[in-house]
Structures are given as C-alpha cells and as structure tokens.
C-alpha cells in the first residue's frame, strides 16, 4: 500500500513537471509559430511527426488487440480488452495533438474535412482516423455502459456524478441489456478492425507513396507499420497489465501474462523479419537514396537509437526476456519486456521519419544557399521537446484520471463472469 502510494506520488510529480514544461512549449509555439522549431526545409518533419506516428501506432495496436476479444472471442484476453480500448483512445488523442501543433496553420485543420483531396494519402488518413475515433468512443461506451449505470447508482460524489453523466440517462443493467451491448460492441469491433488496419496501413502508405524519397518509397511500408503497431501496442498492454492487474499473484494473472508474452514474442519476431527485409534489400541494392539514410541510422551520430534502442530494447531484450524460461514466467520481467518495447519504438519512429529526409533531393542542394534551415542535420529544439513532453504529460494525466474514474481497470476472471 505504502509502495503504491509512493508510486502514485511519483507518477503525478512526473505528470505535473511535464505539464509545466509543456506549458512553456505551448507558449513558445503559440507566440512564435514555427520560428523556434529546428525542422527545416530538407528535414521538414521532425520530432512531432515521429511522435504522431508513434502514438497512432500504439493506438492502432491496442485496438487490434482489443478486437481479438470483441470480434474473435479470444476470451483469454477479456480482462484487458476494455483497458486496450481506453489506451487506444488516449494514444489517439495524443497523436492528434502532436500533428495538430505541427501544422503551419492550426486553425485550418477543418479544411481536410471541408475540401479533402482524396488523391492524397494524408486526406485518407485523416478521414479514416476520424471515423476510427468516433467508432472508438461508441465502442467504449457500449462496452462500459452498464458499468457506468452501476457506478452511477452505487457511488456518490464526483465519481458517481461522472458515471451518471456518462451513462447518458441509460438505466438498464439487466443481462439482456448486456447481451445487446455486447452485440453492438462486436459489430463496432468488426467495423473497427478493417478501419484500424486501413488507417494505420494508410499512415504507412503516406510515406510509402513518396517516390521522391527512395527510403520511404515501396510496398512494404504499410505492412511494416501494421506490424510495428501490433508490437508496440501489445508491448504497452502487456506492461500495463503486468503492473495494474488487481489480482496479482493469482494463477489467472500469471497465465494471462505469459500468454500475452507469447503473443508479443511472436509479433517481435515478425518485426525482426520485416525490419531485416527492409534493411537488407535496400543495402544490397546500393541505390544512394535508399542506402544513405540507413547508413546514417546505423553509423551516424544517432547510431545508438538504432543499435541500443531499436535492436537492443526493441528486439534483443524482449526476445530474451520472453523466451527464457526464468524470465518469461516472471511477471516482473514480462512487464519490463513490454516497457522495453514501448521505449524502443520511439526510436523506430524517429528513424522512419527523419533520416530518409536527410538526403538532399539533388546533390549539392544544401550548399546552394546559406541557410540554417537548409541542412541535413536535425536535433529537435527546446520548443519541440518542451511541447512534446507536455503532450506526453497530458496523456499520462488523462490516462490516470480516466483509469481512476472510469470502469477500465483490468479485472479478475470472476468479475467478468458475473
């Protein structure tokens, strides 16, 4: 108890510090626009775009895992299904905030709705994740409706009030009502499944279609994005469950976690194959536009993002922890494996966005005009970091608040049955 109180205090301390830092970032961004940003003319997308695809990947991944339960009836994972939906919702919000601040004219985002160009993958992506967002909210509501009603009736105070508001006047807590809700959730999940695949595959396609950037261009990208989403989303859920489950110590908890471990291990191995295919073929082909970004990734100043992050934390660590018997049966180590993946994918996303942009489209372009924005180097500026930290802090805060007020906690089997 004491430990968890300390943990909570530390969590909120981190959140508050992040939000304060984020406040500075927000102030700079809103008062000076993009002047303080370090992305430039060549590397025109930076930290924020990388974070955007990172969180959108987590969202799609968590959602796809929830679909295992809601659509494919893998009841095994039922205890974390709702948490997965909730995680998907929060990550999506964070992703959208990141990309919104990246726009040159934030006030014009509605134009993607009012005058979309459907020849653009970006327009598709925005429309698809809007649909996905709406669907997530409905699915989450139907899945939690009876719990909102119950908590509204049982609890007083603020929490009860929130529950009554979220129940939207619905009263029914009968088993038939639950059956109907489950049917709705199943249908929504079934619609959401292709939607999540399309929109996250679409994010991959957004990069894949750009023929001007050989390192992006190709058919593997949408698939690579989907695998990455599943791995990172799976890793996140695994870590969350390892730490947040109410029935720690029970057989059920251990066996669910080890099943998740196996699932994530399989996904990581799939990711190894995809990453190897992507890198080896590009390196073999030897086309400079393909190879230079990879060399930059593997031996440039940020080599460690690849070797320590992407390969070490993202592949070696989870593969060892999840396949070695001693660690794969320890819930602590399984949780660490999940966290390790979640961390590593920040690096994966940075390496997808930035190095491929660092190769000038025409040789000698960067020296043609003296401009600090015309450079092959990019390190995010203070403003970019600060705002980014703030958005992450906001996400953590929303997660904790929702986690405490809404019925999203992972459950033990018995509660699910009742």
């Amino acid at each position: 108890m004491k430990n968890s109180k300390l943990g909570m205090a530390a969590y909120w301390a981190v959140v508050i510090i992040s939000l304060v830092i984020g406040g500075y970032g927000l102030y700079w961004r809103l008062t000076t626009g993009h002047i303080l940003a370090n992305y430039g003319q060549l590397i025109t997308w930076g930290l924020w775009v990388a974070m955007y695809i990172y969180f959108i990947g987590l969202s799609a991944g968590a959602f796809l895992i929830s679909a295992l339960v809601f659509v494919f009836h893998v009841e095994r994972f039922r205890p974390i299904a709702r948490l997965a939906l909730f995680t998907a919702l929060i990550s999506l919000l964070m992703a959208l905030l990141f990309i919104w601040f990246d726009l040159g004219h934030m006030g014009r985002f509605y134009e993607v709705y009012s005058r979309p160009n459907f020849r653009s993958m970006m327009a598709w992506m925005v429309w698809l994740y809007t649909a996905y967002f709406v669907l997530l909210i409905f699915e989450f509501w139907f899945e939690s409706r009876q719990d909102f009603v119950r908590c509204g009736q049982e609890k007083g105070g603020f929490n009860g009030f929130i529950c009554r508001v979220l129940a939207l006047g619905s009263k029914n807590t009968e088993p038939e009502g639950r059956e109907r809700d489950e049917r709705v959730v199943r249908v929504l999940g079934a619609i959401g499944l292709p939607l999540a695949i399309m929109f996250h595959g679409g994010v991959g396609a957004l990069f894949g279609v750009v023929a001007a950037r050989p390192a992006w261009h190709g058919g593997l990208f949408p698939l690579l994005f989907l695998v990455a989403a599943l791995v990172s989303g799976g890793g996140l859920l695994m870590a969350l469950y390892a730490w947040l489950a109410p029935n720690k110590g029970s057989e059920e908890y251990k066996s669910l976690l080890s099943d998740m471990g196996r699932l994530v291990l399989a996904l990581v191995l799939l990711d190894v194959i995809f990453t190897f295919a992507e890198y080896s073929i590009a390196l073999y082909g030897g086309v400079p536009g393909d190879v230079l970004p990879l060399i930059e990734i593997m031996s440039g100043p940020f080599w460690w993002v690849f070797w320590i992050g992407q390969i070490g934390l993202g592949m070696v660590v989870p593969i060892i922890l999840l396949s070695w018997k001693r660690t794969s049966s320890s819930t602590f180590w399984v949780g660490i494996a999940g966290m390790s993946i979640v961390l590593a994918f920040v690096g994966v996303r940075l390496n997808i966005v930035i190095p491929p942009l660092s190769v000038p489209e025409l040789q000698g372009l960067v020296n043609a005009v003296p401009s600090p924005r015309m450079t092959t180097q990019y390190i995010p500026s203070m403003m970019e970091w600060a705002l980014g930290i703030g958005i992450v802090g906001l996400g953590l805060a929303l997660f904790a608040i929702g986690y405490n007020l809404l019925p999203v906690k992972p459950r033990g089997d018995k509660e699910v049955m009742s």
């Binding site: 000076t32 626009g33 993009h34 002047i35 940003a37 430039g40 003319q41 060549l42 025109t44 997308w45 990246d102 726009l103 040159g104 004219h105 014009r108 985002f109 134009e111 993607v112 005058r115 979309p116 160009n117 020849r119 653009s120 993958m121 970006m122 327009a123 925005v126 957004l206 279609v209 750009v210 023929a211 001007a212 950037r213 942009l357 000038p360 489209e361 025409l362 040789q363 000698g364 372009l365 020296n367 043609a368 005009v369 401009s371 600090p372 924005r373 015309m374």
Partner: protein, 243 residues
C-alpha cells in the same frame, strides 16, 4: 559548338522572348504552356537569378524559389565547376499536387503549379514529395528582425504573387505556408518575363510558350540537345537544360 552561334547571333534574346510572350498572352490561357530552358554552358553561377527572385517575391530567409547548385568535379589541378540553376520544374505530372490533403496546390490552366496561401494548412507533405527540393516552408523568419533597429522596408513591402497584393506579417499567410516558384505568374500576366530571366547576366535562362513553335524556347529545344532532371520519375518537368 556549331549550334551555339544560332543562339548568340540572335538579335536580342530578351526582345525576342518579350515578343514571344506578347503572342502567348493573346492566346486563351489553356493554349499556353510555359516552359523554361537553361543553358548550362552559359551559367556563371552569379546567383543573379536567386537574388532577382528574392527581390521580386520578397522571400524570407530559408525560402528560395530558385537557387544555383554549385559543384566541383575532379581533383586539382584537373577540376571544373558545374552549375545547376534550379527553379520549380512546373512538372506536367506534379507529385507535390497529388499529396496535398486539401487541394491547396494544383497545376493551373497554363501549366504552372500554384499554391493557394489561404487554403494551405502547412503540413509540408508536398515538400517531402517534390523530387527537386523546389518547395520551401515559410517559417516566419526575417532577415532584419532582432539584429537591426527595424524591419527593412524590403521585407515589409507588398508582394504580388498570384496577382494578390500581400504584406508579410507575423502569423499571417504566407507565413506558415509552403512556397515555391510560380514562373512569376504575376509578371507574365502583365506581359513581363519572369524576374530571373530578365536578370540573368549570362543569358543562360530562356522562357516562353512551349506550345508556340515560333518561340525561342521551342527553337532552342529543336536545335540543341536538352535534358530534364530525374525524368525517370515520370514527373515531366517543363524546365529543360541545355548542355
């Protein structure tokens, strides 16, 4: 070398191109197809084009519609310098247009790829999609802010890009937009050549209507060997290089 005199003996290329232009603007717009021809053997890398473009369009630091790539080939003492002026290619199949999520950029009837500053959301997707690095983002930088007592008048004077009078101000378009060369569309419609054509001291740049067989650019393309950049991408540039 036999062909070069055909060009240099011409009366006055500028006069000839002005006449070409006059003929072209009398045609319905959809019958014109503006193109540029750049003679690499005559470019001296003086950057007069870069500067005249800056003067015409009042582009801020970091925003360049045209520039000259200068490279050294070989090793001392066997070296030579190569110069490649690079405006927007005004591609016939512009990949930058395809990717714009809001249709803020398109190829207009005269074949020029234009941007609507009041629509562009500044996502910069088009920058990543242009194979020639021809698009730049207006970050809101100024040449003379902070380091001088006041903004120099050349930064606050209005521009007439796309025929619209605009004064550049913080947080107002075109700040926050992507910007690019538009063949000085505002000048063309007044019967003037693009600024870089007028000011090229080496007479390396030519401009005119590619649909007009009588125009100087058409004649040059008939008589000289020409190539386009990255033709293999299928973009079909309307900027041709003579070498």
């Amino acid at each position: 070398m036999a062909f070069i005199p055909a060009v240099s003996q011409m009366e006055n290329a500028n006069v000839r191109m002005m006449e070409d232009l006059e003929r072209a603007v009398q045609k319905p717009p959809e019958e014109r197809r503006w193109g540029m021809v750049i003679d690499l053997t005559k470019c001296v890398a003086c950057d007069a084009c870069t500067v005249s473009c800056k003067a015409e369009n009042k582009t801020p630091p970091g925003v360049n519609y045209t520039l000259v790539i200068k490279e050294e080939v070989g090793e001392y003492p066997n070296v030579r310098a190569t110069f490649l002026p690079r405006p927007c290619m005004q591609c016939e199949n512009p990949p930058c247009v395809e990717v714009c999520p809001v249709g803020a950029t398109w190829k207009d009837v005269e074949g020029i790829v234009v941007i609507d500053y009041d629509v562009c959301i500044g996502c910069r997707y088009c920058i990543t999609a242009c194979p020639y690095g021809a698009r730049t983002f207006d970050f809101g930088d100024w040449y003379t802010k902070g380091n001088t007592p006041m903004l120099a008048p050349y930064e606050t004077a209005p521009t007439f890009e796309y025929g619209e009078e605009r004064v550049r101000e913080d947080e107002v378009s075109p700040i926050g937009n992507v910007r690019k060369c538009n063949f000085c569309i505002q000048r063309l419609h007044e019967g003037l050549l693009p600024a870089c054509i007028n000011d090229c001291i080496g007479r390396a740049r030519y401009f005119g209507d590619l649909n007009d067989p009588e125009s100087l650019v058409s004649e040059l393309l008939r008589e000289r060997y020409s190539f386009k950049l990255k033709e293999e991408l299928g973009t079909s540039p309307k900027v041709f290089y003579l070498s």
